[in-house]
Symmetry: C2
Subunit: 137 residues, 2 copies
DNA sequence: ATATAAATTAGAATAACTCTAAACTAACTG
DNA sequence: CAGTTAGTTTAGAGTTATTCTAATTTATAT
């Protein structure tokens, strides 16, 4: 394509974010492929591998801004590291405790029934199912 | 009771752990009451408040040992802090993102149907549902 | 009582972020 | 376009939760 960034530029503008060199590179890696699960470190490594100099602080900033504006979703599966998912629609995950691999549970293979109401004075903000698996034994 | 530690001593011995002064104090706080949700910091504060000098490293060690031997369960709800639950039977949680409060979803108020099989070569190790709520608006 | 293996500890180290203040740049204005 | 400004990036310092290390202490077996 002649203008490989147009889609991503639009996406950032719609989110109210300036399409800077850094955000463009990150957004391209994140959104120009299928659904992805990443951490700050893996995304930083990828963007450097693509020869765009971006600081780790900017990766963190971008991940949070993208999440705030709904382009990403955070998935909490590990108490020592934050994972982000480019698929922001409601779905659930397998998490391999040995490898750290996060993957989608295909739609329809799981369902949560009879959701409880939020406790008094609270507002529901999300429901996450994590199916933990292990590689060995 | 005359021997307030007998129960807890047995519990530790059954888990293959020496009933040391520190582990006894921690186990008493954890198991001599109803179900509890704690973090290393909160448990450390409690044990010091009970006037037993225990280092934070020992609290971390004990939490992991207790978890390994099935006396505790880790609940992953926050990517920056580990929570532990004294109720090790299968149940799910509310997590208040504003206050950090973790609470049980009463049994029967939620259920996960049609569990997916683990991906090839993997073994299922747990299923966790976290219902996130917020305090404000 | 002793020996020994296990447990505890202070303090250093690490990992994953977050913050700060200075330098840079996108985008608006005339 | 040149100037202005507000938003963005960054290096490096700071923070927080947790783990590690090596020395000391303690529980238990003998």
């Amino acid at each position: 394509m002649d203008r490989p960034y147009t889609g991503v530029i639009e996406r950032l503008k719609n989110a109210g974010l300036r399409p800077t060199r850094q955000r463009l590179a990150l957004a391209k890696l994140l959104f120009d492929g299928g659904d992805r699960h990443i951490t700050a470190e893996t995304l930083h490594a990828e963007v450097l591998a693509a020869n765009v100099r971006v600081s780790l602080a900017t990766v963190y900033n971008a991940l949070h801004q993208f999440t705030r504006s709904g382009l990403l979703r955070e998935v909490v599966v590990d108490s020592s590291r934050a994972y982000f998912d480019t698929n922001t629609s409601g779905h659930h995950h397998f998490f391999d405790e040995d490898t750290g691999d996060l993957s989608d549970i295909p739609d329809g293979e799981i369902s949560v029934s009879s959701l409880p109401g939020a406790p008094a004075g609270k507002v529901l903000s999300g429901v996450e199912v994590v199916v933990r698996v292990r590689s060995q034994q």
